[in-house]
């Protein structure tokens, strides 16, 4: 099978996340592949068999994108594509991103399955996969935790309330993977070296072919700004040592349970 895997660069937070005046995560922070996207690459590698391929593609800041794509190549992807576009004018509104990625997929062609992570750590949206599928008019499955190919079909299992759903779909299809689907492989020294030297292709999305202008405007109209703020501080806990005075600790706990109307 030939997979096209969309991977996102996410900034790594240090213990005390630095935000700039616009409420964005410090641009100097290290970036890495969004964790679930590594699992999407792994799923692609497992589906590839002997005659398949895995293409990784990413949109974003050029420097971050290059390092993320090289990480994807180091895992074993066969081709890497950096996507640029002038259509996402407002960087704090990423609602239309899935449509831009769909345009990129349409230009690239040559895939049996499009894989994404279920959601990115930095926005936890989980919307890219479904927009891709919708724009390309392909079937879509999210929260997939098992995926195999047989007779040109894809058999999937996805997590569902109190259970799982099993089904199969014709290809091409768009699949978003969840964190129980596999364990991503680590790059070897050899693949790292190859990745370092590999060529990264670039692809520009400069017009919409899959969506008309009015629909695009409608999609992008509502969200006007986005910023991050630190989580509220939790006051430090009262901590006691059981070996110092066990009875007092238990008394405290009983008092807490009473205070909270539990007993």
């Amino acid at each position: 099978m030939k997979s096209l895997v969309f991977i996102k660069s996410v900034r790594k937070l240090n213990a005390d996340p630095q935000l700039d005046a616009q409420g964005q995560v410090n641009a100097d922070a290290d970036v890495g592949i969004n964790y679930l996207d590594k699992l999407a690459i792994e799923a692609g590698l497992q589906l590839a068999g002997t005659d398949g391929s895995v293409t990784v593609a990413s949109y974003g800041d050029p420097k971050a994108t290059e390092s993320t794509l090289r990480d994807g190549l180091a895992m074993g992807a066969t081709k890497a594509v950096a996507i640029t576009s002038d259509l996402l004018t407002d960087q704090s509104n990423q609602v239309g991103l899935g449509v831009i990625l769909a345009e990129a997929a349409a230009q690239l062609g040559d895939y049996d399955v499009i894989l994404t992570g279920d959601q990115a750590k930095d926005d936890a949206q989980g919307c890219v996969g479904l927009r891709l599928a919708n724009a390309l008019k392909l079937p879509y499955f999210d929260r997939v935790n098992d995926l195999t190919a047989a007779d040109g079909q894809l058999n999937y299992q996805l997590l569902w309330e109190h259970g799982k759903l099993n089904g199969s779909t014709a290809t091409p299809a768009v699949i978003s993977v969840t964190d129980t689907i596999n364990k991503p492989r680590l790059p070897s020294f050899k693949t790292k070296m190859t990745a370092k030297r590999a060529k990264i292709e670039s692809l520009a999305v400069d017009q919409l072919t899959l969506m008309d202008d009015a629909t695009w405007q409608h999609l992008n109209a509502a969200v006007v700004a986005q910023r991050f703020v630190p989580k509220p501080e939790r006051p430090a806990a009262k901590i006691v040592n059981y070996d110092d005075d066990g009875d007092a600790a238990i008394k405290d706990m009983m008092a807490v349970l009473q205070q909270q109307s539990i007993i």
């Binding site: 109209a221 991050f228 040592n241 066990g246 539990i262």
Partner: protein, 324 residues
């Protein structure tokens, strides 16, 4: 503030009626007294109408067809999309559970409208609303501003909302609409993990254990404590992977999100994959032998000590079962 009505999407499921009421309550709070319309999708108009007609809504549209099932994701989504296409709307709120989120995503794609998931707070700003959600595993909050006079779909994390709506003063206009053209449903098979009604997510008290409980016997003690406190048993992934307790008890990134009044963590280190599922609990008690364990950063009260010893002594103090 807006001419366009706000909609709530309620999927009929006896197990979710309380969550749907919490969603209504959240919206009433968040959109201070703006008229709220709700659309219920259900196999039949009863009990949907009786469940929600006194909830203080402005209008209740009940879409019914006999074969409705939430698990038929695409079919349900198509029904909702078709309905919303015909109604001018501003924000549309959905619940945040697995199935409802999947449905909300498909609706957002079909309507070409933005979807912002996991919202836990809404406040009014000029011409719109500021929405808040947790990102980076709960380490940062993201705030998004949306315009009130444009359409946006939201899924709302109602885990923290536990005051159900009071009977409303508002008269609800009920519109029954039988759906005659239902989209075809894909062929899927459902494999239930457990048939027992799951209490953990709604528990007022959660007693959770990790590797520090050292085996299934430790978890028997925790189960006793949970029973005494009318609570539910929870666990870390390590304890689940070791087979000491069932999968359905796992709390965290891969498991459940709980928001009890009291969370008791025994022998749990406090890895972020675990804490993301419990860090909204109202009061956290942590028991751990390691004074530097990360779990103490999430705690209100901490005991440095052996889990088994502390729990045994607490149990002996709680000798008689407490009245509920």
């Amino acid at each position: 503030m807006t001419e366009r009505p706000i909609y709530l999407v309620l999927l009929a499921d006896p197990a979710f009626t309380d969550k749907n009421l919490n969603l209504i309550h959240f919206a009433q709070d968040a959109f201070n007294d703006q008229p709220l319309n709700a659309v219920v999708v259900a196999p039949a108009s009863e009990p949907a109408v009786t469940d929600y007609e006194k909830a203080g809504l402005n209008e209740l549209d009940v879409l019914t067809y006999a074969q409705f099932s939430k698990a038929k994701v695409a079919q349900t989504a198509a029904t909702i999309s078709e309905f919303l296409t015909g109604q001018s709307h501003s924000a549309v709120l959905f619940g945040n559970d697995f199935g409802t989120t999947s449905i909300a995503k498909l609706v957002a794609a079909q309507l070409h409208e933005p979807l912002i998931t996991h919202i836990n707070d809404v406040s009014a700003v000029d011409d719109g609303w500021q929405l808040q959600k947790r990102v980076y595993n709960g380490n940062l909050l993201q705030q998004l501003t949306v315009k009130a006079n444009e359409a946006a779909l939201l899924t709302v994390d109602v885990a923290g909302v536990n005051d159900k709506v009071a009977a409303g003063k508002q008269v609800t206009v009920v519109k029954n609409r039988a759906v005659t053209k239902v989209a075809t449903a894909a062929d899927v098979s459902y494999e239930a993990l457990s048939t027992a009604v799951d209490q953990l997510e709604d528990a007022n008290v959660v007693v959770a254990g990790g590797r520090g409980m050292q085996g299934p016997e430790g978890f028997e003690l925790l189960q006793q404590l949970a029973d005494r406190l009318h609570g539910s048993l929870g666990a870390s992934r390590v304890a689940v992977d070791a087979g000491w307790v069932g999968k359905e008890t796992m709390i965290g990134m891969t498991g459940k999100t709980v928001v009890p009044d009291v969370y008791i963590a025994v022998g749990i280190s406090g890895a972020f994959q675990h804490t993301i599922g419990m860090d909204q609990s109202k009061y956290v008690i942590a028991i751990n032998t390691d004074p530097d364990a990360a779990i103490f950063k999430f705690a209100d009260y901490g005991i440095v000590g052996d889990g088994e010893t502390v729990v045994k002594q607490l149990l002996s103090q709680l000798k008689t079962p407490v009245a509920s």
